[in-house]
């Protein structure tokens, strides 16, 4: 269609624009121009003809389309009719639906109202029923039933009751209400009295019976308080009995030193059992979240009783006295601290265990209600109850005294071990080192057994201090007395002991000997053990605390290690070097500019290396008996380094013939072979440069070096620089310096 429209327009256009105008033609005078125009017009005519043909060709297609359109006409009329009919139907349906839904809404409203009416009728009936029921139940002393009625009444919608009072039956409803309220008050009084009676009579069945009724009357707090009181009385009686037994003296020798810890354990376990037993009742009848309240009541008694036990403990064990003595260091003798310290740590461990139990139970009880319902406030309350209760404070006080006493015990025991130090000949370390570390380990283990992380950290700090100062002092004194070798042993022992101290504090039985290098491993192992010990409630902060304190201990052991290394280096420089150096320099006096005859002579009578080996053997023998394998090994390593450096310097001052080079090669092999037997370190590496020098000195010709150099070096890694190679080559008197210079290395 678009085509047919645009054709005339185009034709018009072409007529006026592309054709040459008549005026132009008339104006032409030249034949050439005319011919040009003619040509142009001819080609234009052809184009127009082609265009016309194309358009005529389209006629039939357009005709067919027109026919199709004509046929569609009536169908469109039909569609229009259908559409308007449909629209009518939709309008009708719509209004119908509107109509129906309005009725449904009305019905719904009516239904709701009906329900309300029924509810209210029910409530009123219930109210009546309750009123009658309560009276009967009260008369029959069926308090559960009465409470159930009151509970029903209390759970009625108060607004409904208000409405009922305004209705026609207001007077009767009013009367019911008054009766019910009276009954409620009466029941509350009765139930309270009955519970008190039951408590007084120590009648658990009755106590529980009335305890269950309280929440029905909306008296949750009161019920829990009274029940708590009852349980507290029970606990108090039992606790007093136990304390009398404990202080009565007749407890058997075995438990006597721990009797207060035992008594405290009994108390705490008793409370835990009470909580465990009564949790179901509280949860069932009071609902979740109320265990906290009951525990708060019980904790008051727990605090009181624990305080009594601790007071007795302090008094009978002379705890404060001992602390005073320690504080003033009045007596030079250590008071009997060991048992009392152990007892304190056990007491604290029990308290921690108990408090963790409480936290678990309380939080679980909150969670039963709704995990989301553990609000920040809940959590804070729990923390406050557990962290700031008297039991916690009492224990914190005990630990507060414990730490200085344990520290004193540690320090004094270490001092004692030092003064009693025995050094026997043939023994590598003095008894003191092992004793010191045994003591330190014991004290840290004891602190750990208190389950208090702060206490443990404090003792690790003190242990570190003892090792860094007192133990260090000891090493000094030994040095002053002139036992450098033993002192080195002691330091070395100190390093490995510090490692094993951490590692084995807890790993009883699982002791494996780690080397000096593994302080980090030991720390990790120790931390794992701590983690196991404090599985519940070891927060990352607490882990970090222990880790930080242990790091200090690791640092100390590193310092011992450095000290040892320095000592050994010094020993090497002062004791070994002055002796070894002349033995090596004597190489200079043995000519290596030799001929066949002398070479054979050397073969028969070794001029140098055998004597050197004998000398070294004697020197090291002295150290071997005096030093432990680890230290001896380090020392031989230092010595071999010394020998290789000295020998290298010496060789560079000599001159060699071909056979002299061979001689040196033989000598070096013997020396390396010997040194390999006396040390566990691989020494080939230390002698690599010398071995390569021997290879060079052994060459036939200067250029032979190229068979070993650069691309020909094979597995050999040259430790000598090209300049050094030339320097060694120059030691051979038979090599010409021009040849050496000419070498391309």
């Amino acid at each position: 269609m678009a085509d047919s429209g645009s054709v005339p327009a185009r034709r018009c256009g072409s007529g006026s624009v592309s054709s040459v105008s008549m005026d132009t033609i008339s104006a032409l005078t030249e034949l050439e121009d005319l011919e040009n125009i003619y040509q142009q017009l001819c080609s234009e005519e052809k184009e127009v003809e082609a265009e016309l043909d194309r358009l005529v060709g389209q006629e039939s297609t357009i005709h067919t389309k027109m026919l199709a359109l004509q046929r569609m006409g009536p169908k469109l009329q039909l569609i229009e009719g259908d559409a308007s009919q449909l629209s009518g139907m939709i309008t009708f349906t719509c209004s119908l639906a509107e109509n129906v839904s309005r009725k449904v809404r009305q019905l719904d409203l009516a239904k709701t109202r009906l329900y309300n009416v029924i509810q209210r009728a029910d409530d009123i009936l219930d109210l009546k029923f309750c009123t009658d029921g309560v009276q009967t139940a009260l008369r029959n002393e069926d308090y559960e039933q009465a409470a159930a009625h009151i509970h029903r009444y209390l759970s009625l919608d108060q607004s409904v009751i208000e409405l009922s009072r305004q209705g026609e039956e207001s007077s009767s409803v009013d009367a019911s209400l008054v009766l019910l309220q009276e009954a409620e008050q009466k029941l509350k009084v009765i139930v309270s009295e009955k519970l008190d009676e039951a408590v007084a009579a120590v009648d658990l069945a009755q106590v529980e019976r009335f305890f269950k009724i309280f929440p029905l009357l909306g008296l949750h707090q009161q019920g829990l308080a009274r029940f708590g009181q009852y349980l507290c009385t029970q606990l108090a009686a039992k606790a007093e009995e136990n304390l009398i037994l404990a202080t009565g003296g007749d407890v058997g020798d075995k438990r006597a030193p721990l009797i207060f810890a035992d008594t405290l354990t009994l108390l705490l376990e008793g409370i835990a059992r009470v909580i465990e037993t009564h949790q179901p009742i509280v949860e069932t009848y009071y609902g979740p979240g109320h265990l906290y309240t009951l525990i708060r009541h019980l904790q008051e008694e727990c605090d009181k009783q624990a305080q009594k036990i601790v007071d007795k403990f302090i008094q009978q064990r002379g705890y404060h006295n001992k602390f005073q003595i320690v504080q003033n260091s009045m007596l030079k003798t250590i008071p009997e601290l060991d048992p009392v310290l152990t007892e304190v740590t056990i007491m604290n461990a029990r308290a921690e265990l108990y408090l963790r139990f409480l936290r678990r139970r309380i939080l679980a009880d909150f969670e039963v209600g709704d995990i989301q319902s553990i609000t920040k406030e809940h959590q804070q309350n729990v923390e406050k109850l557990l962290k700031h209760c008297q039991l916690s404070r009492t224990m914190q006080e005990l630990i507060g005294y414990y730490i200085p006493m344990e520290e004193y015990y540690m320090r004094e025991s270490v001092n004692k071990a030092v003064t009693m130090d025995t050094y026997e000949k043939g023994q590598l370390t003095s008894s003191m080192v092992d004793d010191c570390f045994y003591i330190v380990k014991k004290c840290i283990s004891r602190a750990l057994s208190s389950s208090s992380i702060d206490c443990l950290c404090a003792m690790i700090n003190h242990a570190n201090s003892v090792l860094e100062s007192d133990f260090r002092e000891v090493l000094y004194n030994k040095l002053r007395q002139g036992f450098p070798a033993t002192t080195l042993q002691d330091i070395q022992r100190g390093v490995s002991s510090a490692v094993s101290l951490m590692q084995s504090s807890l790993q009883q039985g699982k002791f494996n000997t780690l080397g000096i290098e593994s302080t980090e491993n030991a720390k990790t192992a120790f931390l794992n053990d701590c983690a196991k010990l404090f599985t519940q409630g070891t927060s990352s902060v607490e882990q970090a605390k222990i880790e930080s304190c242990l790091s200090d201990l690791v640092n100390t052991s590193t310092k011992f290690k450095d000290l040892l290394q320095e000592g050994l280096t010094e020993l090497n420089t002062t004791a070994i070097k002055p002796q070894v150096k002349p033995w090596i320099s004597s190489f200079l006096s043995i000519s290596h500019n030799i001929e066949e005859e002398e070479f054979n002579d050397y073969e028969a009578n070794d001029p140098w290396v055998q004597q050197l080996i004998v000398n070294l053997e004697q020197l090291m023998c002295e150290f071997k008996v005096a030093l432990s394998p680890v230290i001896y090994d380090t020392l031989t390593s230092l010595m071999t380094s010394l020998i290789s450096i000295e020998l290298e310097k010496t060789v560079l001052k000599c001159s060699f013939s071909r056979l002299g080079g061979l001689q040196f090669d033989k000598e070096l092999r013997s020396l390396v072979a010997y040194l390999t037997t006396v040390t566990t370190w691989t020494i080939r590496d230390k002698f690599a440069r010398l071995t390569q020098m021997a290879t060079i000195l052994n060459l036939e010709r200067v250029t032979e070096i190229l068979d070993y150099w650069g691309p020909n070096s094979g597995p050999l890694t040259w430790r000598l620089t090209p300049a050094e190679v030339r320097q060694v080559l120059a030691l051979r008197i038979d090599f010409r310096s021009e040849d050496i210079k000419r070498l391309r290395l």
């Binding site: 962290k387 700031h388 200085p404 002053r480 010094e570």
Partner: protein, 232 residues
Amino acid sequence: MSMEDYDYLFKIVLIGNAGVGKTCLVRRFTQGLFPPGQGATIGVDFMIKTVEIKGEKVKLQIWDTAGQERFRSITQSYYRSANALILTYDITCEDSFRCLPEWLREIEQYANNQVVTILVGENIRHNFFLLVISCALYVWSRNLILVLVGNKIDLADKREVHRQRAEDFAEAQSMLYLETSAKESDNVEKLFLDLACELIREAKQNKLDNNDTAPMPGEGKTISYLSCCNVN
């Protein structure tokens, strides 16, 4: 150690009477908040904050101790390994100020670094050996920096301890003095950052003195001034 992501690690311990605001100062610095209604500290709390000073990462290990008497023996065990102690009192509480000498006595007692005497022996070789070990041991003892902090300056109208008094006291004891408010965030940042600067300076100084690679080198005990230093 070199693997870890810091250039320096310092142990800072806060001490002082209960309720003077140690925990609030630490929280303000490490978490940027003033905690409402948190209870007294139990034992020791431990927090870490890494700060950057002049391009160097400084890890501050901050130990917040409990001021209540019964935790004193735990607190004391930390004095010796500390690089710096922040002794805090409350400017609205005369009592907390009066206790300061007592705190200093305690520090003296527990933070004491052994003064190592160089020994003299007869045998020359042995003597030289002793000397080396002595030097190694000598390097163990460190300096301890002490800072006195008067907190709660936002409560100006309730002030009981005059600034001059505190300054005099601090000077007599060779301590730096700073007044802060954890509540208003006054001088808190400055306190810790200046201290970090001073600790770095000290560490560098000691490294120089000893010309040694020991991790925490130092000399015999001196209590040093905290000079002003610019951050970044």
